[in-house]
Amino acid sequence: MKKSLGWLLILFCFSVHAQTTNYQVYSVFVVSIAKYSSWPESDAKDFKIAVLGKSKVYEELIKTTTSKDINGKKVVITQTEDAPISDLPHIIYVSEGKSSQLADLLKKLEGKPVMIIAEREGLFKKGANFSFVVLDNNMLRFDINRKELENHQIKISKNLISLANETI
């Protein structure tokens, strides 16, 4: 029995390095979306992206944006367990685990210039500005809720819209 448990432990140790979802690609998408979007004028020095909940995309965003800028602004990545009320970021990335908080988030941020990008597929229909979708060929895409983007005073380029899997 002890031997079996030992083997199981050894096998599970391998799992530390195992990952199948490529969060680096998710982070590249987030940055690209940011680059091709525009927010109302503000005096914020930094371009802030907050990751709501735990997601590996947080580490990947830090790596992807180190020493880089978005629209001339230094990029600051933060992680939070609760929806920010003050010092609002430009983008809130809603992790899979926090998907159920989307409705609250939308209420709190109604009309405010914060882009909401959801990790979970289909949430664009529930008010997220963008939500990711994995196609049958495993390629990553996003869906866009343009009406909600307007409500948040954010404009996005036509090129970005043309890449969307679905828009409403």
């Binding site: 096998l11 599970f12 391998f14 799992s15 390095h17 195992a18 990952q19 199948t20 979802t21 490529n22 680096q24 690609v25 998710y26 590249v28 998408f29 940055v31 690209s32 680059k35 091709y36 992807t64 944006t65 880089k68 979970r120 597929e121 289909g122 990711f132 994995v134 196609l135 049958d136 495993n138 390629m139 990553l140 090129n159 970005l160 890449l163």
Partner: protein, 661 residues
């Protein structure tokens, strides 16, 4: 840092920096949501369609699935289909009668109508009994891949797929665009075991594809000398024989296909001849299949199909004078209409209707076998299946209803929940399945008629991918069969079929795969425990009620492959099979005696040299010369087929690819 992670980071960085990605949005179109695939992941991410409907990856498809690639077959140096099936969890080989060997699965005899064999969509199982002879059969070097559903397939495939489906896809019908020729020689210490060879040619362009394949072989069932079947010898004149001289296992296959846009046509001939020292058995089976995929729109496809089968299966007679005891033609005309509707990316619905008519005609001069007239079976079936790809699980719900003019009706529903969540996957499967009585099951019914056999099968699979190169999957099954259609050979010499109330098995299967750059291994273990409430006496042995006759409870398989250089690989296969029981002789009162057969280890070694389309392989099968026998899978008056001795194998093949058009 994990190698694959490093690789994926480097790849991404090498293709585009953050700025260039943002500048070139089109490059986002080609980014996978998943990390770079390892060899194992490529295999796992292959799309497989269990039956009809939408294809899913092997870890999400609604069935317990084994996929064997041409690469694996080539490297292991498989001689025939038995070498491949023995490496698959739950599968084993048993004898029917007259040295004809068939398949057993999960501890049950499954030769007649329980496992459906398909080659490029053509049914191999015969129409009289639904059997498939296995020794030295099938052109294994022509195979592109085999998808094996280790579980029921009736809801989709109908009444010959009660326990499992072996779906063989040839190179000519899939990947080959060129010419390929192959040959195999197998040599025992004092005789030639087999000489098989074939050729395939296929040309594929955007709208037109055609292919042609021919395979023929000559082989032996065994090479044992001074052999006498003690059970048979009590009833017939059974000469002491050198089996290398008197037996045969000679397959032949002709396969022709054409595809023009949505129209597909395929014709096939499957021939097989074998004999023991007393009787010969022959199969001459033709089939033709035409279907057209009407793409009504992006969401709806309609596929009408017509299949015609014309067979003279299981004709047999005596070797000494060549006289036939049975020679009957069986034909099937089948019409099928399938509709496939994809409501959206997440919901797929498939439904259809099938009608087929089977006819048996005696070919012997007295025309007495079917009472001087044709023997007809008429079937119609409707089926439907829905797939919903959900966030928490993919849900597959389906059912099939089939009605036969003699056997009555059968209704079999199925439900499957599957999902891969990052490294973990699960499958929860429940199916009912049935075996539709074939012509001979009804014709030789001992009690007036035979009704459809039915199984309830529950399966649970859990899998975890520990690293991109390593996967462990464990599944448990419970299989309960009722109205078991069973062949009976009664003491007074009468033979026939009748339903017995129940049989089946339960057990576990474990698969562990590890694929490194220069080596890989597949380990699997399977255990089956016979249902102790089985009422089929002919499957039982007095020593235990945990195993049926001829079936091992445990099987352990290890397949190791090493790439010594870029061109040379070495494959080692080890198969351990646990203790079995077989009827081997009579006691003084004339009752058959069951004997315990020792466990055996089959060790096979094969070396391949490959360069520029040319493959040369050499190896040895059964290195330890264990000669595992093939017991009859029921108490039917035949002693086990003696095992063949160590066999040295040479394989040569060459493939010339056409230029893409």
């Amino acid at each position: 840092m994990n190698v694959w992670r490093c690789l994926s980071v480097c790849l991404l960085l090498s293709f585009f920096s953050i700025r260039s990605v943002a500048q070139n949005l089109d490059s986002l179109l080609n980014l996978s949501a998943f990390t770079a695939e390892s060899d194992l992941q490529k295999q796992l991410n292959q799309l497989a369609k269990v039956g009809v409907g939408k294809a899913l990856t092997t870890r999400e498809t609604p069935g317990i699935l084994s996929v064997i690639s041409s690469d694996e077959i080539r490297k292991m140096g498989a001689r025939d289909i038995t070498d491949i099936l023995r490496t698959i969890p739950g599968f084993d080989i048993g004898q029917d009668v007259q040295f004809v060997a068939g398949v057993s699965f999960r501890g049950n005899w499954a030769n007649e109508g329980k496992v459906l064999f398909l080659i490029d969509g053509q049914q191999v199982n015969d129409l009289l009994y639904q059997t498939v002879p296995l020794i030295n059969n099938f052109a294994v070097d022509a195979i592109d891949k085999i998808e094996i559903i280790r579980g029921p397939g009736s809801a989709v495939y109908g009444g010959s797929a009660e326990y499992a489906v072996v779906n063989i896809i040839t190179k000519q019908a899939s990947s080959l665009n060129g010419v390929s020729a192959y040959g195999i020689g197998g040599f025992h210490s004092s005789s030639v075991g087999r000489t098989n060879g074939g050729v395939m040619v296929a040309q594929k362009s955007k709208n037109v594809q055609w292919d042609l394949g021919f395979f023929q072989g000559k082989g032996k069932v065994s090479d044992q000398n001074n052999y006498v079947d003690q059970l048979q010898a009590a009833n017939v004149n059974y000469p002491t024989s050198d089996l290398a001289k008197v037996t045969s296992a000679d397959p032949m296959n002709v396969n022709v296909g054409l595809k023009v846009n949505g129209l597909s046509v395929r014709g096939m001939y499957n021939g097989y001849k074998t004999n023991d020292p007393v009787n010969f058995t022959k199969y001459d089976n033709y089939s033709a299949d035409i279907k057209y995929e009407f793409k009504i729109n992006n969401k709806l496809t309609l596929t009408p199909q017509y299949v015609y089968m014309n067979q003279i299966p299981w004709s047999w007679g005596t070797v000494s004078d060549g006289a036939y005891a049975l020679q009957a033609r069986a034909t099937r005309s089948l019409a099928n209409l399938t509709a496939n509707y994809s409501l959206n990316r997440k919901i797929n619905i498939v439904g259809g209707a099938v009608y087929f008519a089977d006819k048996g005609v005696d070919l012997l001069s007295d025309n007495a076998y079917f009472g001087g007239q044709d023997f007809n079976l008429y079937n119609y079936a409707i089926f439907a299946q829905g797939l919903i790809k959900g966030r928490l699980a993919n849900v597959t719900v389906g059912a099939r209803y089939e009605k036969n003019n003699r056997a009555g009706d059968a209704f079999v529903p199925r439900l499957a929940l599957t999902k891969k969540i990052e490294n973990f996957h699960f499958k929860v499967l429940y199916s009912q399945a049935f075996r539709s009585p074939a012509i001979e099951n009804q014709h030789l019914a001992l009690t007036g008629k035979v009704v459809p056999e039915k199984s309830n099968v529950a399966e649970l699979e859990l899998g975890y991918q520990f690293t991109p190169e390593m996967l462990l999957a464990v599944n448990a099954f419970y299989l309960n069969t009722t109205n078991v259609i069973t062949y009976q050979y009664l003491p007074d010499g009468t033979e026939g079929y009748q339903n017995f109330s129940r049989s089946g098995s339960s057990g576990v299967e474990l698969v562990y795969s590890l694929r490194k750059r220069n080596w890989n291994m597949n380990l699997n273990y399977s255990y089956a425990h016979a249902n102790t409430n089985s009422t089929v006496d002919t499957y039982k042995v007095p020593q235990t009620n945990a195993q049926f006759v001829g079936m091992p409870a445990s099987k352990l398989v290890g397949v190791f492959n090493f790439s010594i250089t870029q061109n040379i690989s070495w494959n080692l296969t080890g198969i351990y099979s646990g203790k079995r029981y077989a009827y081997t002789n009579y006691d003084v009162d004339g009752n058959p005696i069951s004997t315990s057969l020792d466990p055996y280890v089959l060790a096979n070694s094969f070396v391949n040299f490959e360069t520029k389309g040319f493959v040369f392989g050499v190896g040895a099968y059964d290195i330890f010369n264990q000669k595992p026998v093939i017991p009859q899978a029921y108490n039917g008056n035949y002693a086990p087929i003696p095992g063949r001795s160590r066999e040295y194998v040479v394989k040569i093949s060459y493939q010339l690819n056409f230029k893409s058009r």
